[in-house]
């Protein structure tokens, strides 16, 4: 039994660390949903695009880490703005499901581009920001990179909370709730839309670039791709009722931990990949039982 408790502790640690990535993705998803009612299926691909761009800058062109990082972020944000321009804006009067299909197309385009440009690169590694490595008292391996991820999450969460109290943040909320009224008082709904997608893409890019270095990756085999990060991110967003930013953070961490349960040896020895199974049934359970979300705090918006 002792082994199981220890295993659980290690799993939970990994869960929290991994969950911080999901939380970042979830924040982007919730932001887009609150601003335009769209489920953004391309959210994870903002991350992969940023990652590949940073990789190219760092490994192929030899730029310094900070510059490469910034470049990756820039490319991710550009992708977000492009998505807004080419897909979201033309379809603004279409049904939400059509928009969803549109973002799915964007995701596929990103995947296609990644395959195109990087298919011949067999194994890709990216150096971590810090190669340090710790072991917690209960035997869980923790990389400094992962800890940095958690730190970034905390900072981002606080910044977002502050941002939404600022005029721009309020403008975003106003534009989503009452587009016509917002236009009348001088808020450009168009600008707000671009701002939203830019921020969401930045969040996605952050998530991608921070996780990339943790494992080796290829265009075909990402630890961050659609199934790996998009789904858990959406799960966390669902837990947050698609509304609450703090809820997205809490949800991300929870999803990370729940996913780890699937990799406990009692299960994964029988069947590999039970993480996906656990997530599927968890998602079903949450949607059927508590469709309004679990971590929905006192958010003063509709």
């Amino acid at each position: 039994m002792d082994g199981l408790v220890e295993e659980l502790a290690i799993a939970m640690t990994a869960g929290v660390l991994r969950g911080s990535v999901y939380a970042l993705v979830a924040l982007g998803i919730v932001l887009v949903y609150r601003a335009s009612g769209v489920f953004n299926f391309a959210q994870a691909e903002f991350g992969t695009t940023g990652l590949f761009a940073a990789y190219a800058a760092l490994e192929l062109w030899g730029w310094s880490y900070p510059v490469a990082f910034a470049f990756g972020m820039g490319v991710a944000i550009a992708m977000g703005l492009l998505t807004e321009r080419l897909v979201i804006h033309p379809l603004r009067n279409s049904s939400k499901v059509t928009l969803l299909v549109g973002t799915a197309g964007v995701a596929l385009a990103a995947i296609g581009l990644q395959f195109w440009l990087f298919n011949d690169t067999l194994i890709m590694t990216m150096p971590k920001i810090s190669e340090s490595f710790y072991i917690t008292p209960w035997g869980a391996p923790v990389t400094a990179q992962a800890l940095i991820g958690v730190g970034v999450l905390a900072v981002v969460a606080i910044l977002l909370a502050l941002f939404f109290r600022s005029p721009s943040g309020l403008a975003i909320q106003a534009a989503q709730q009452e587009p016509v009224a917002a236009e009348l008082i001088g808020i450009s709904v168009r600008r707000v839309s671009m701002l939203t997608w830019g921020i969401a893409a930045a969040l996605g890019g952050l998530a991608g670039i921070l996780t990339g270095p943790i494992l080796t990756f290829t265009a075909a085999f990402l630890s961050f791709g659609a199934f790996a990060a998009l789904l858990p991110g959406f799960m966390a967003a669902v837990l947050a009722g698609m509304r609450s930013m703090p809820g997205a953070v809490a949800g991300g961490l929870l999803v990370g931990c729940v996913e780890q349960l699937g990799s406990l040896s009692i299960l994964s020895e029988r069947v590999p990949g039970t993480g996906a199974a656990v997530l599927f049934f968890f998602l079903l359970a949450v949607l059927l039982v508590r469709p309004n979300g679990v971590f929905v705090g006192r958010v003063a918006t509709a």
């Binding site: 033309p90 049904s95 499901v97 799915a104 596929l108 995947i111 199934f227 949607l287 059927l288």
Partner: protein, 402 residues
Amino acid sequence: MTSTLDDSRTRILEPVAPPVQAPEPADGLASESSGSDQAWRPSRAGVWARGFVWGLLAWFVLAVPANILSPFELGVADVSAATEAVIFGIVGLSLNILLGYAGQISFGHQAFVGIGAFTSAYVVVDLQLSFWFALLIASAVGALQAGLLGAVSLRLSGLYFALVTLSYGAFTEQTVFGITELTGGEGGKSAPRPTGFDSEISYYLLCLGFLALVVFIDWRLTRSKAGRALAALRENPRVASSYGINVKAYILLAFALSGMIAGLAGALLAHHEEVIVGSKFGFQLALLFVLMTVVGGLRSRSGVVIGAAFFALLGSGKLLEMLDKPLSAVGFSLTEFIEGTVGLPQEFVPLVIGPILLLLTITLYPGGIGQQIAPVREWLLGRRFDPHAGKVEEVTVNDVRA
């Protein structure tokens, strides 16, 4: 109010309200559909012309792959690509029932196809039963799991259900297909051809036969009360139920039918490739299936089949090869251009072209390929040539609860 018509016509009831004027056609053209049901008949020459084109199509689809009366020397690989195109066509029709007729989004269709594939392989190899029986079982399994998902969809709005289908796809790919006893792990599972259908051409014709069957079922679906029920409920479930339609039952029917056909397609795919691996059915395939159906044109049978075939041929590189043949006369090779100059390996071309076509479809040409070929299609079916046929205003994947 008495009838002003000739009393020699027997009437059950006399009209009780004054007649109403027909509206002006919106585009100013006298379109075929307005007015009475008097059938317009094509001229003699028209019949011959249509017959000729039908013959040409039949020759292209049947004789050319068999290398009968054909100047092209098609090899085994070519016919194999054609088979794949046909199977994709079946998948497209299956997804069209869900997406186009019932208005339900599904990013998990590759799971239905994949499970159908492995089920069939399992039945033939492990249970030692006949191929035909395997097809039946695979279809039934497809219908069953789709029906279960359908039951879930009744409780959720469209966007959340899309998420569930995505998760189902991940669950299937990573968990279910990870069970090596069922799926043979990395090496894949073998799925031998049925006796008598070993050759590529015979298997191609078999799949073509099934495509025809599915088209028939789809045709009857749209012309029967089930099709009308789906058309009503996807636009306005309240009105549909007040017409006496059991909305929930018909949504489940759509799911079951869609899943059944997807399972069938999966089984055909398995025995076509003779070895199937689980990793084939991933997120890209999910997106590709939705894409090809939307680009093909929702609710357009011919559009969906052509769209699916297009993407299949594109992915196997055959389309580029086909285009290269005439282009080689001018000394230009499309394949070389794309692989060499542009640097895009040909198996990824659908991933790049697909989203571009999708964007064009949902913004500019909502009816997709189906809309573009509608004038020709209507002409072939014996109606007057109308360049404005098949006009669609917006891509409507209607989910009234979204």
